[in-house]
Each structure stands twice: as C-alpha cells, then as structure tokens.
Amino acid sequence: MIAVLRIFALCAAMLAGIAFAQAPSQPLQPISPELEQRLKILETELRCLVCQNQTLADSPAGLADDLRREIRGLALAGKNNAEIKEFLQTRYGDFILYRPPVKSSTWLLWVGPFALLVVGGVVFLLIVRRRSQTPMQPEAPNSTTSARALLDQD
C-alpha cells in the first residue's frame, strides 16, 4: 500500500514538473465523432510510458497529451490503426502496446498458459486412468461386524 502511494506521489510530482514546463498546447483539430471513437479505442490499447500502468486514453501526463495529438495528426493524415501502432512501436518499443506481439521473445508468454493447461490435462487423465485400473478393494466380510463390536465395547 505504501509502495503504491509512493509511486502515485512520484508520478504526481513528475506530472507537476512536466505540466509546469508545458508550453500552452495548441487547440486540437476538430474531428468527426466516428474518428474520435476509433481513436479512443486505440488509445486504450496503448501504454503511457510516464505512468506505466495507465493507458494513453487515461493518462493525464504531458507526454500522453503529446502522443494523443500525434495520433490524431496521423489519423487525420489517413493512417490506419496498424500504421499508428507501428509508428509508436518503432519509437518506444513493444512496451507501448498493452497486447504484446507474438514473436520469439514472447512466445512463452502466449503459449505458456495453454501448454500448462495441456500438461495439467495429461496429468489429470493419467491419474484418473490409474485410479480406474486399480481394482476396488472388496470389503472385508467381517469389517462391519468388527466395527460394530468396537462400538459396542463401551
């Protein structure tokens, strides 16, 4: 909890520093509601690198403002979502994407859970099969009577 608060305070301090130095931002160009909607969805898939656990859509950081303006400019220039993502990826790396791309360094991340599921399934089947193969222990004929005798002792 304290760690969370500390990170929050640090982020706030950084934002204050950036906001303080920020040049008056240019007014955003008006865009159609459909494009606005499209960009809003796109921005929720992108990470703000200043406050790392926020999306670009949510982050109040100065850098997020700049990037949102940049994305808007690219979209107005006719770039599609994939092209905008690639633009950011070549500058900030895969980390800016909330959904990591499938490649050699991330295949474990993508395949791992399914592999574990398969391993778990195999182990489960093996156990079930072994259990079903072991013959049921026939009840000892005198077990009930001896139990009764034990209970009746006192």
Binding site: A21, L49, Q52, L63, D66, E70, T90, R91, Y92, D94
Partner: protein, 178 residues
C-alpha cells in the same frame, strides 16, 4: 526412483519460479529498452536555444561521435547528472548536444547560466515533436551516436559516475577509434 522424482520435480519448478521472481525484483521497470539502438538517429531540424534564428539538424553532426542529452529546466533529476556533463565538456571528451525538451526559452537559458552549460549547442523542442521521434518519455535521457549517425546506446535517467566510467566512456573510446 519415481518417489524421488515426485519430490524433486516440484522442487525444481519452485526453484525456477523463485529465480525468475527474484530476477524480476532487480529489474527497473522504468528502463524500457529502446528500439532505436543500432538505428540511424532520427533526423531533426530545430532552432538553437541561444540563437533561435539558426537551425541545427542531425546531418550537421555526422562524422563525429556525439552525445545527445535530453534536458529541461523543469527536470529535477537533470540537476543530478549535470556536474558530470560539465566535467565531460571541460575535459573535451566528447561533444554534447542538448535537446531542450518542452521548455521555455528564458527558463532554459537561466538554468544553464545557473548550473553551467556543457552543450556545444542546445536545440529547443518546444512542442515535444522531435522527442517523440527519439522515443523520449522522461528526462534526462542520453543517446550515444557514432560517426555514421547510428545510435549506439540510450541511457535512461541521470547518468551516474559509475555508468559513465563502466559503460559510456569505454563505448565512446571504441566508437572514436572505429
């Protein structure tokens, strides 16, 4: 034999898990590896801080090993590394160029007057557009650029005396010889 495995296997998995979790603890999530390393320096053409009517571009700097330091007068941690930059400039180790990020001109010049100016020249990136091309997300950041204009290293956060001696200076020497 199978009995031994029944204990060793979970223990082994546990050990691997502990190793990765422990390693994760020592990683700094703020140090995001830059995809720009080993790529050509993004071209820019920006007005000089001290002479706004003159422009400086990346192509002007080709043919030498140079540092690009991203700074701002609002950036508190820039003050931490600043004495080291002054030291590099004083000893003529490598030319340092400044990218003055989202700053006001008078604030930036006042800051340099106060703390010293190690930069051959600083360029003013008032709206932060060029910083996006460099993948900058927090000042200070320092790029080491070789004679061919290829980024060889990106240092995130204030430069420490240790990282300067261990990583940055040896790299600069190597690049100067090549």
């Amino acid at each position: 034999m199978t009995k031994v495995w029944r204990f060793l296997l979970p223990l082994g998995i546990f050990a691997v898990l502990v190793y990765f979790l422990f390693k994760g603890l020592s990683l700094n999530p703020r140090e995001v590896p830059s995809p720009l390393v080993d790529k050509p320096v993004p071209n820019f053409s920006l007005p000089k801080l001290h002479a706004p009517d003159q422009k400086l571009s990346a192509t002007d700097l080709k043919g030498q090993v140079w540092l690009l330091n991203v700074w701002g007068s609002w950036c508190v941690s820039c003050r931490i590394e600043h004495p080291l930059l002054n030291e590099i400039a004083k000893n003529n180790i490598v030319p340092i160029y400044g990218l003055n990020w989202k700053d006001k001109r008078e604030d930036a010049i006042g800051w340099l007057n106060k703390y010293g100016d190690p930069y051959v020249a600083s360029v003013a990136d008032i709206d932060g557009r060029v910083a996006i091309d460099f993948g900058v997300y927090g000042a200070p950041e320092t790029f080491v650029i070789d004679k061919q204009g290829i980024i060889r290293m990106k240092h995130i956060g204030p430069i420490s005396a240790e990282s300067l001696q261990k990583d940055i200076l040896p790299l600069i020497e190597k690049l100067k010889k090549s």
